[in-house]
């Protein structure tokens, strides 16, 4: 890979100045590389991070059944990666005007990476450097342990989509009030509510009493408070001790849980596996925000490349070329979803709404269609609003908050579905709904959402690890369960159970039923318990 030439770099620097004037904020340094098809071959399985660790699956082209699973939590080929400095990739024969457009696009991405709070945990280090040292670590372990390193990588990757990303993020965002007292938490959250089952009035009184103590004694508040508690409940201290030394914390994600509580991994001869799992976990966490902000990130970048390109005096005369490329990127397809298009239009729409003061209660309460059309309070808060959104939201909150009937009507959006016409053996695509609620549901349904699978510490005993899948209307991909659980069994060093939901039975309807216009049969779900023991999988229905 080689860097872009000086001439092109000069264009980039010019773009940076203009982007800064428009309000985008990003670090000074960036690196731009030319990529060839050959580079892409090496880069794409490594998520475009040149220094990522080696793994044999990268050598195998994964093509089968692409539709059945998401390979990685990110897009396969990205132009810009969230490193310090940010690295971006270019085709080697882009004309200057096109580069200008792409540079603006890239700068907006970098601005997004470096200011959106979902990326907070990626701000304090450079991934390429980190990845390089991880890569060396894994290479070194390979030379000592051989193929077992790859087994550990494989089994760790099998659960790397279950990392507790939001937990990790909240730890970063936690306000620095010092260490919260676990004794206090236990007293209010568990002891009073679950052990003593006190009345609400009594509970509130206790809270008030604690606040009283903090006002009076400041530093010694807790001591005073608990002096009285111990007088009233002599058993409290003993119970708190028991709770603290007792069960492991089930709130941690599966990977963390294994790192801390797997006896197999914590044996002296297996300690090296811990660092391998850590590497996989870190990498997965790093890419989580990217996939959770696809609409916003691409929308934001498209919004800015359009805006800034048209203001850039250096490339006058290329408006038609630009229009053609830009339309290709951000046109709304007749059928299909284009995150670039939806994201960009939503940002533009919100900017206008905020400029006219329509993101306000006054407007939302208006029912008169004419008044709604002409409503304009001249607030001119558009720019401020979209910058706030860029800082604080992710795809889910963005879509859930702002995709409303106004937006859907304005761009004539609708939900498409298909039905089978058996007489002619074709799928017919039809307009299913133009309601904002349905459109929002459809968008949210297409977003990345890994299953929530937690360790049930209460049922984890006698060396059997018990996992519970929180059912959200979709089953797990059945053919992947066995191998994934085999990996967990290996890392745990004992039997593993997984409680999940499956379709109890599919009633296939005769085609005639559909013609008679009967409704789809309701799907019946049942809970099942898989158990992986000695690499054999068994299944048990549990209700």
């Amino acid at each position: 890979m080689e860097l872009i030439d000086q001439h092109t770099k000069n264009i980039m620097e010019g773009c940076k100045e203009r982007a800064r004037q428009a309000g985008l904020r990003f670090q000074d340094e960036t690196l731009e590389y030319i990529v060839t098809n050959r580079d892409l071959l090496e880069l794409s399985p490594k998520l475009m991070i040149p220094t990522l660790y080696d793994y044999w699956v990268h050598d195998v082209e994964v093509l089968k059944e692409k539709g059945r699973y998401e390979l990685y939590p990110h897009n396969p080929y990205e132009t810009v990666i969230n490193t310090r400095p940010a690295i971006s990739f270019y085709n080697d024969n882009n004309p200057d005007w096109l580069n200008v457009m792409i540079f603006y696009h890239v700068l907006a991405h970098i601005d997004f990476f470096q200011n959106n709070l979902y990326f907070r945990h990626t701000w304090d280090f450079d991934l390429t450097g980190q990845a390089l040292s991880d890569k060396r670590l894994i290479a070194k372990l390979r030379s000592e342990k051989g193929r077992w390193v790859d087994y550990v990588i494989e089994f760790a990757r099998a659960i790397d989509n279950l990392v507790d990303y939001h937990g990790e993020l909240s730890a970063v965002h936690r306000p620095g009030v010092g260490v919260r007292s676990r004794r206090l938490d236990y007293y209010f959250d568990l002891f009073l509510q679950q052990v003593k089952k006190v009345k609400i009035s009594e509970y509130v009184t206790e809270i008030e009493r604690y606040n009283q103590c903090t006002r009076e004694y400041r530093e010694q508040a807790e001591q005073c408070f608990f002096a009285e508690v111990n007088a009233r409940y002599p058993e409290f201290e003993a119970m708190f001790e028991k709770h603290r030394g007792g069960k492991p914390d089930g709130r941690k994600d599966l990977m963390q849980f294994l790192l801390e509580h797997s006896e197999f991994l914590n044996k002296d001869e297996n300690k090296w596996m811990l660092s391998v799992i850590q590497v996989i976990r870190k990498t997965s966490l790093y890419f989580q925000p990217q996939i959770r902000t696809k609409f916003m990130n691409e929308g934001w970048a498209s919004y800015w490349h359009e805006k800034l390109f048209l203001q850039d005096e250096r490339i006058g005369g290329h408006e038609v070329d630009f229009a053609r490329v830009h339309a290709g990127v951000t046109s709304l397809p007749r059928v299909g979803l284009n995150p670039y298009a939806i994201g960009m239009r939503l940002f533009q729409h919100l900017e206008e709404m905020a400029d006219k003061g329509r993101l306000s209660n006054d407007y939302q309460r208006l029912l008169d269609a004419d008044k709604r059309k002409t409503f304009d309070s001249k607030a001119m808060k558009g720019q401020q609003k979209i910058f706030e959104i860029r800082e604080n939201l992710s795809d889910f909150t963005f879509i859930n908050t702002y995709v409303d009937q106004d937006f859907v009507d304005r761009f004539r959006l609708f939900v498409v579905d298909r039905r089978l016409n058996e007489a002619r053996m074709v799928w017919q695509y039809y307009v299913k709904s133009r309601k904002a609620g349905d459109y929002r549901e459809m968008l949210l349904g297409s977003l990345y959402h890994p299953p929530v699978i937690r360790v049930d510490t209460g049922r984890t005993r006698d060396g059997t690890l018990c996992l519970v899948h929180r059912f959200e209307g979709k089953p797990l991909v059945r053919e992947f369960i066995a191998n994934t659980m085999m990996g967990i069994e290996f890392l745990w060093g004992g039997p593993v159970q997984l409680e999940t939901s499956e379709v109890a039975g599919t009633a296939t309807r005769p085609p005639s039923a559909r013609e008679r216009g009967e409704k789809e049969p309701e799907i019946a779900w049942r809970r099942v318990l898989y158990e992986m023991k000695d690499r054999k999988l068994t299944k048990l229905a549990i209700g």
Partner: protein, 459 residues
């Protein structure tokens, strides 16, 4: 209904039909349609991409960079190593993980491509979005523009054969590999991985080598014929690197410099030409009832068998392709064989007769090992096999192996198809057990089962 079919239908009806059989046959007749080639769909309008929203990034969207295409050799380079790793996995007590991806990109004439790649899947706990696919409501997506609620805005044919349900081959335009070399490698992989037994040598193996001289090799600097296109490309490359192309919009060729190295010639070279040793007849039922999975299964199995024979016979294999409904025709290439649409009724005898005629007319028995592989859904209008069995007996006199694969429809009861019934009752399978093999599987069988099937056909 075309008159010829109608006549044949009346004829077999006279011989007597049970009501179920008649219903089956009538259903097939009702399908109509013809055998035209399927459209090979590029980027369909309704293509639902595998990764959904996350399928493309800026490089592909804005810079129009195609997805990276690995040359085939890079995939195979590590293949041995990967297979070795897989064997080791088994020893370590984990199930094997690498599968052979067979990917076919049939082209017309000789430009067909079989691309073989090792594939593997990283299993994870994932939500299965596809569990509702078969029902309505499984294809929800977004759209924009005109249309009332409920209005149909487009149609897409249900998957037929040819979209073999596998992804694209990681190889688009420009990655031209011949069928031969890839199929050869697939054969090698099959042989090594699945430990298929080797065939017994029959017939006379004559490894005559002939040489032909061709002008296919390219050479820089000197040669017999100047390759203008390649030369121009070189000149362009040189001048781009010299900076003589300031503006792509207006190319001024007068400023170009031509370096001596830029000239690319075709040079005469000696190429080995093999005598063929094996002749494989691929026979496929393309009647109306073969719609969908049954066809997919049959053609993918045939590709594998073909590849595997190539391997065994060191590329000395010729193949002939025959498709049949109530009549049989020979088609010129794999592309047509693979892509012909299903329609019409079914008469297996017609195909077998055609094979016998070809073998007889061209006197193939002298020089070739002859293999015949027939794929069908087991339906035949010829009740009891009165017409088929004599043809089959004639075939068994010269063939090294006849392998019949029945891809049963899931809807019907198993092991009750017409073809299976008459083959079993004829006793031929027992009498000529080393010449005739029958394999029956459900049309939804997975790759592993297909390969098991090949084993039983060829062992």
């Amino acid at each position: 209904m075309n008159p010829k079919l109608a006549r044949y239908f009346a004829e077999i009806k006279k011989r007597g039909l049970s009501p179920q059989r008649e219903a089956l046959i009538r259903a097939e007749l009702a399908l109509g349609g013809g055998h035209g080639l399927r459209e090979v769909v590029g980027r369909e309008e309704f293509a639902t991409s595998a990764l959904g929203l996350y399928a493309d990034g800026d490089l592909s969207r804005i810079q129009a960079m195609t997805s990276p295409q690995g040359s085939y050799t890079t995939n195979v380079r590590s293949l041995d190593e990967l297979l070795e790793r897989d064997r080791q996995r088994e020893k370590d007590g984990f199930p094997r993980k690498i599968r052979v991806g067979r990917l076919i990109k049939p082209g017309k004439g000789d430009s067909g491509k079989v691309v073989v790649v090792p594939t593997t899947v990283e299993e994870k706990f994932l939500h299965d979005s596809a569990f509702k696919q078969e029902q309505e409501g499984g294809g929800a997506s977004g759209g924009t523009g005109e249309g009332e609620e409920g209005e149909v805005i487009g149609e897409q044919p249900v998957r037929g054969p040819g979209e073999a349900g596998s992804g694209s081959a990681g190889q688009g335009e420009g990655g031209g590999h011949e069928v031969e070399s890839n199929a050869y490698d697939l054969g090698r992989i099959l042989t090594e991985k699945f430990e298929l037994p080797n065939l017994k040598e029959k017939g006379k193996k004559r490894s005559l080598s002939r040489y032909t001289y061709e002008l296919t090799d390219k050479n820089r600097g000197f040669g017999q014929v100047l390759d203008k296109k390649a030369t121009l490309r070189k000149i362009l490359e040189t001048n781009i690197s010299l900076g003589n192309l300031p503006d792509l919009g207006e190319i001024d060729t007068t400023r170009f410099l031509i370096s001596p190295d830029d000239k690319v010639y075709r040079i005469l070279s000696r190429e080995k030409d093999y005598e063929s040793q094996a002749m494989v007849f691929f026979v496929r039922d393309y009647s109306g009832s073969m719609e969908g999975k049954a066809t997919e299964l049959v053609v993918s199995q045939h590709v594998m068998i073909y590849s595997w024979l190539l391997y065994q016979y060191e590329k000395n294999v010729e193949s002939r392709f025959i498709v049949h409904d109530t009549d049989a025709t020979e088609v010129p290439d794999f592309y047509t064989y693979y892509n012909s649409r299903v329609a019409g009724g079914t008469r297996v005898a017609a195909a077998y007769r055609l094979v016998n005629e070809i073998v007889d007319k061209e006197n193939l028995v002298q020089d070739y090992n002859i293999y015949i592989f027939h794929g069908t859904d087991g339906d035949d209008w010829d009740t009891g096999g009165k017409e088929v069995l004599p043809e089959l007996k004639a075939m068994l006199r010269y063939a090294n192996r006849v392998g019949v694969t029945i891809a049963e429809h899931i809807s019907g009861p198993s092991h009750s198809t017409e073809v299976e019934r008459y083959l079993k009752s004829s006793g031929l399978i027992e009498q000529a057990s080393n010449l005739l093999r029958l394999d029956v599987m459900g049309e939804d069988a997975d790759e592993k089962r297909v390969i098991e099937g090949i084993k039983s056909l060829i062992s």
